[in-house]
Subunit: 373 residues, 2 copies
């Protein structure tokens, strides 16, 4: 066996994530590793926390970065808050709502599923009805921006409905954070998780999470221990907060947190509203070009995610062949359809650092060429 | 709020981990991010797998890198293999054995605890007795190299005893992998996990895991689903193996895997036995210097880990003040005592890239100066 160093071909990442990582973030990632209890590192963690509070638009003290990808962020919310036997209204309009159901059921809790068609947003009326029919439901869980379909749901309204029925909300913001309007405190979101590799322009592997006061109260009132030691936030809290001394829980992914810190500095400097506007502007440019090529969107304009464009594969076109051409000839990655959309849709991401004019231009030109237009 | 980029002060990391990361690994870490389903990336994953098989000395097909730190590697083994109501013999001779007990109990299984004093290896006779008294025990779990105490247990003998009683073994190799002799197949280890940030010279955040045929059989014969979706290896398998097409489970920590790949290339080039010998050589040099200063080791010579030297804090010496001096004046991190050893011991790591002559020299000279000798 003689394996040599791996040198990836640089790609333009316009799939559903990971998306293009800023060179600034890659440089930060490679800074010298220091100890996870080094006072300098603890100070950096406090800054990450403050900047995540800004990104989430929250004052939640418990706002941290879970040391694993978005799926672990999802599991962090469910495993800490949902207890066996409890009822959770889970809105399913794509792959990630389905994953939430898996989380609920594996905890020995009951998922009351509110189904909506793929490509449609969650229907608030159905959620209201489910809550009326299940007055003992403790939670409403939904995906803000469905990465599998490109549909944006009305998180503000869904949270209002949940609050009216005294249910806590668990919100998936993996693809929404930094890409579209999201206001945790104003909208009254109780628990939220995201991922580093979408609109944050950062490398994959980290999941920002925030718990509001009602979620913390629910966690502290649990009957038994959290089933997962690694994700037990009552333990993780003593590493991410406290004056002065922090207790060791697990070894933090030091360098990945440098990267997240840098991406958050960039977001802070750009301004959150400006980042949202940039995603919208680049989406408009992409839309104009695609429309000119006769390519249709799957999601209605009113619920369309600017950062994830799900389009119909034109009649008679070979899905895999086109994606291969884009990858091999232009080093451009776009996403395949997932689940119900496999073979029927492409997903073009304009997330974070990838939401730039040069990316839109390359994508349109390369797609035109690959389609022989 | 105006937070600026974080530039850590470069440190020499001679604590219990994270340990010094090779500049080659830091450079690899910052290579351009590509997609987690990109054929180039999938090819790299196959190489990581082959090199992990070499590092673990196993032919186990299921040898992967969990997308989270060592604690999640531990949880991966327990959550997949141990079912509610089952009995697990857990050997506790430090912090990490205690963490195994937490894992077992949170799964609704029963931990039969075999206690040994901190600083001592696991006593094989006690394990044999526990197995005789609990013929229904399905597993023996132990820590090969206890990071909290610096003691090495006889993994080969413990596995022989477990096999005699038809119990599967779950072994913590977080600190042992790459630092001392470890032979998964020859010793008959059924499930093993490690960490990237110790003797692998890599950044923290990744946990190599390997399951042998008996473990896979146990996993496949489970009655219910694995309680954790994120760590469910029946799902992860379809991403880490299979001819050609890999199924999406979660987004892999792409750049951290570049880093692990590079650290494994370095290990392969050095040769595993040479790496073990290097740790031993540097340990001998450190030991000679410490002994000259009148500093005593806590662990008996026969069971001492070369890569983690646990020493008694000399009488009358201010623990925290000395560690602060080392950190602030010499940018040298050594480890505090954990648990029962807090305030009583220091832990000097010589792990991976940190096991070099210049590190030993710096550590001895700086410690001498800080102690006023």
């Amino acid at each position: 066996m003689s394996i040599t160093s791996f040198h990836p071909t640089p790609r333009t990442l316009m799939g559903p994530g990971p998306s293009d990582v800023s060179p600034r973030v890659l440089e930060a990632l490679s800074r010298p590793t220091i100890g996870h209890l080094d006072p300098e590192f603890v100070g950096m963690m406090d800054e990450v926390k403050a900047m995540l509070q800004y990104a989430f638009q929250t004052k939640n003290e418990f706002t941290i970065a879970v040391s694993a990808p978005g799926s672990a962020g999802m599991e962090t919310c469910f495993v800490n808050l949902v207890e066996p036997g409890e009822k959770v209204i889970v809105c399913v309009n794509g792959v990630f709502g389905g994953r939430m159901v898996e989380n609920v059921e594996r905890l020995g809790a009951t998922a009351i599923i509110v189904n909506d068609d793929w490509g449609k947003p969650v229907d608030p009326q159905k959620v209201e009805t489910a809550l009326e029919q299940n007055p003992d439901a403790k939670f409403v869980a939904f995906v803000h921006a469905e990465t599998s379909t490109g549909a944006l749901s009305d998180a503000k309204l869904l949270c209002q409905i949940a609050q009216k029925h005294n249910a806590l909300t668990i919100v998936d913001a993996v693809t929404s954070l930094g890409g579209v309007e999201l206001r945790v405190d104003e909208w009254g979101i109780d628990a939220i998780y995201s991922g580093s590799q979408k609109c944050m322009s950062c490398v994959p592997g980290i999941s920002p999470v925030s718990f509001g006061p009602r979620a913390i109260e629910k966690l502290k009132a649990r009957e038994g221990k959290v089933p997962s030691w690694f994700l037990d936030q009552t333990l993780v809290m003593s590493y991410w907060s406290g004056e002065g001394k922090r207790s060791y829980h697990h070894t933090a992914p030091v360098n990945s947190l440098y990267a997240l810190h840098e991406s958050l500095v960039m977001l802070q400097n750009e301004g959150l509203e400006n980042a949202w506007a940039r995603h919208k502007t680049q989406h408009e440019a992409l839309k104009a070009g695609l429309t000119e090529m006769g390519i249709e969107f799957i999601v209605d304009e009113a619920h369309r995610l600017p950062q994830l464009n799900t389009i119909k594969i034109p009649e008679g076109v070979d899905d895999a062949a086109v994606r291969s051409t884009l990858l091999n000839e232009y080093n451009l990655e776009i996403g395949a359809g997932l689940g119900a959309f496999a073979g029927k849709a492409w997903r073009i991401g304009l997330m974070g650092y990838a939401a730039r004019s040069e990316n839109v231009m390359l994508c349109l030109a390369a797609l035109k060429s690959a389609l022989g237009k």
